[in-house]
Symmetry: C2
Subunit: 63 residues, 2 copies
DNA sequence: AATTTTTGTAAAGTTTATTTGACTTTTTGT
DNA sequence: ACAAAAAGTCAAATAAACTTTACAAAAATT
């Protein structure tokens, strides 16, 4: 599962720590997801989508 | 997290067992998700979306 | 060049998703 | 009414997501 979190972070000038705080998870969770170590839970994917005003599919790509 | 799985199943005449088979999970997982016992993983949500030709947001609603 | 910030990583622990097996209750078909 | 099929549920086990703490590497700032 790929994702555009790193790019979205860059666009918004967010550090991993800041994004983690906004999504209410640990910084390591953001890092792990960006690095593809595991997929976010569905609730977390929803939170990210809401934060960036995008659909889940626009942030996370199955494959 | 609410979802429309039960309705979508009805529309497609799928039993929980059939849907489970199509999504490659156990029947109990489908039942538990329908009954709100837990949320599906993001990969499973994607699979369901693909199966029904809908977006994740059209099947699963946050809150 | 030195310091601070950010990112990467790892181990150990907790929580949540999912499995299998078994059993009960409800719904559907005859 | 009866049988069969589908749905609901529970317990015990495994896997995956996520936490905290801690430290090292890389990037940015001064």
């Amino acid at each position: 599962m790929k994702n555009r979190l790193k790019v979205l972070r860059a666009e918004h000038n967010y550090t991993q720590a800041k994004l983690a705080e906004l999504l209410d998870v640990s910084r390591q969770t953001i890092n792990a997801i960006e690095k593809g170590k595991f997929d976010p839970s569905l609730p977390l994917a929803f939170k990210a989508a809401r934060l960036f005003n995008l659909s889940i599919e626009e942030i996370f790509q199955d494959e």
